[in-house]
Amino acid sequence: MRRSKTGDWAAWAFLAPVVVYLLAFYAYPLYRNVELSLRNYTVRSFVQGGAPFAGLDNYQKILSDPTFGPALAHTVVFTLASLAFQFAIGMALAVFFHQHFPLSRTLRALFLVPWLLPLIVSASTWSWMLNSDAGVVNAALSAVGVGPVNWLTSPDWSLVSVIIANVWIGIPFNLVVLYSGLQAIPATLYEAAALDGATGAQRFWRITFPLLRPVSAITLLLGLIYTLKVFDIIWIMTRGGPTDSSTTFATWSYRLGFGSLLPAFGPGAAVGNLLIVMALAFGLIYIRIQRRQQA
């Protein structure tokens, strides 16, 4: 019954709205974005149309832009540092909460809060906490005798500051997913290891870590794709500054397209498309890993 022709038609009737939707509101904006990056747009031709075809000029322009090198480096550092800390802290917390103690369910739920808050709320709260003169972080540092740090206004610290905020936001996701992975590991394995006299560290490195590899791979790759996209936090906290010191591809693209009174849509779209290529490359790795796990 399932393989009948009419059945397929009915199925596609249910799918039609989403297909139309994807074409109109995903494919078409993406196509417009590619088109933007290949033409030489001015504000005037953006509104009225008729911008001259420019080939890869916009890409050439951004590749030779002095911002390109730093933006690439910051994107890589921001992504890798965020991932490493989110994952390590999330894993430690997942193992800790897996021990089931009184209140553990409630506390684990409370850990979700940072992830559910609107990013602008988290970003502005961190901005004020990291404020050079009146921030609570510098007040705590001075209490232990460390001089004030210009978290958001010094080029040496701005990238560190946005990474701290982003790690804080990303911990809950890692915790929840890794915790659900831990629950799938049979308790009998740990009991057997305990009988054999394995220490806590041995149990983690010999049982937990290897058996959690599939879940870890997925967590890291999803984290990677999400982190490449991060824009709100950086833009709200530092606007990519001071002097590009926390600019990533995402904030650079936004600044080119929307950040000034004289928008450069072509180069902005070109930076965005480079970001898509990066995200898709990692996305394909993700899908391959997932396929291999299901096989």
């Binding site: 399932r2 059945g7 397929d8 009915a10 199925a11 596609w12 799918l15 709205p17 989403v18 995903y26 078409y28 904006p29 993406l30 417009r32 974005n33 933007l36 953006f46 509104v47 149309g49 909460f97 021990q99 103690f101 009184p102 553990s104 506390l107 739920a109 409370l110 979700l112 559910l116 609107p118 602008i120 709320v121 502005s124 709260t125 004020w128 906490m129 009146a134 921030g135 007040a139 929840v176 997913v177 659900s180 967590t219 999803l222 794709i225 996209k229 693209s253 936004y254 397209g257 929307f258 849509f265 902005g268 779209a269 498309n273 970001l275 898509i276 995200a279 898709l280 996305g283 899908i287």
Partner: protein, 269 residues
């Protein structure tokens, strides 16, 4: 380690993790003259409601817009994603795999890039700074996720349940409406919850597609507070507290759906 000690450590870790949230609430009650006290006041002694008064005076329209945009996004997302999930999970037409793949890829596209394409289109259509325009753009964050969640959940509905409906003479539309949807209540809640939260929190689309005009969402309300170099941090943080209310309500009322959404999106296919 003894269990009470673990609880104590757990409480401490939670306190550290949630300190920024506490600090937001604390600052929202702090008086202007205490704002730059050194060291900062750890508790809002001599607290003020000045910040919340400013919210009531200035931010209510923004909150209304956000509520409307959130609800609109939920409706659009569920209407589009639930039938698609049913078809992919239960009718499995040829080409369905390719569509799932396209949805997975769609989730990976950065919002800022979608925003630029939308901006070009909306400018030509003249729908910048409109609520329907923002709902449509916000739904692109939630629809692919929604289809994947519905597919994952609906795959678990027993075939017998639907065959019984077919035996009773129900067509596919009727089966979907009176059998599949009612038993999928949990997944509808999960998808709605995330769609609402994402639309409510959206900043990228709001700032690019809805930056001017009368109908701006609350995220821009906060952003403009900061951007104006307004030093009234109690008002900014009070707005932030109010903007966090939906997330808090959802966490309290629907915690298991939240956890289900996070893990289903990541672990299941």
């Amino acid at each position: 380690m003894r269990r009470p000690i673990r609880t104590a450590i757990g409480l401490m870790l939670t306190a550290v993790m949630l300190f920024p949230v506490y600090w937001m609430i604390n600052v929202s009650f702090t008086r202007d003259q205490d704002m730059r006290a050194d060291p900062p006041h750890l508790f809002p002694v001599n607290g003020t409601l000045e910040g919340y008064r400013a919210v009531l005076d200035q931010q209510l329209p923004y909150l209304g817009t956000s509520l409307l945009v959130g609800l609109g996004t939920v409706a659009l997302t569920v209407v589009l994603a639930a039938p698609a999930g049913y078809a992919l999970a239960k009718l499995r037409p040829p080409g369905g795999g390719a569509l799932s793949f396209a949805l997975l890829i769609a989730q990976m596209i950065p919002g800022i890039i979608m925003a630029m394409g939308f901006y070009a289109i909306y400018l030509n259509l003249g729908v910048l700074n409109s609520i329907p325009g923002l709902i449509l753009a916000d739904s692109t964050i939630a629809v692919p996720f929604g289809v994947l969640i519905f597919t994952a959940f609906m795959s678990g509905i027993p075939e017998e349940l639907m065959q019984a409906a077919v035996v009773d003479g129900a067509g596919r539309l009727r089966t979907f409406w009176s059998v599949v949807l009612p038993v999928s209540r949990n997944s509808i809640v999960t998808v709605s919850l995330f769609a609402f939260l994402w639309a409510w929190s959206d900043f990228v689309f709001a700032s690019t597609l809805d930056g001017g005009g009368d109908h701006r969402p609350i995220t821009l309300g906060i952003y403009q507070y900061i951007g104006n170099n307004n030093q009234q941090w109690n008002a900014i943080m009070a707005t932030a507290v109010v903007a966090s209310i939906p997330a808090t309500i959802l966490l309290v009322l629907a915690q298991r759906y939240v956890a289900a959404g996070v893990t289903a999106g990541a672990v299941k296919d």
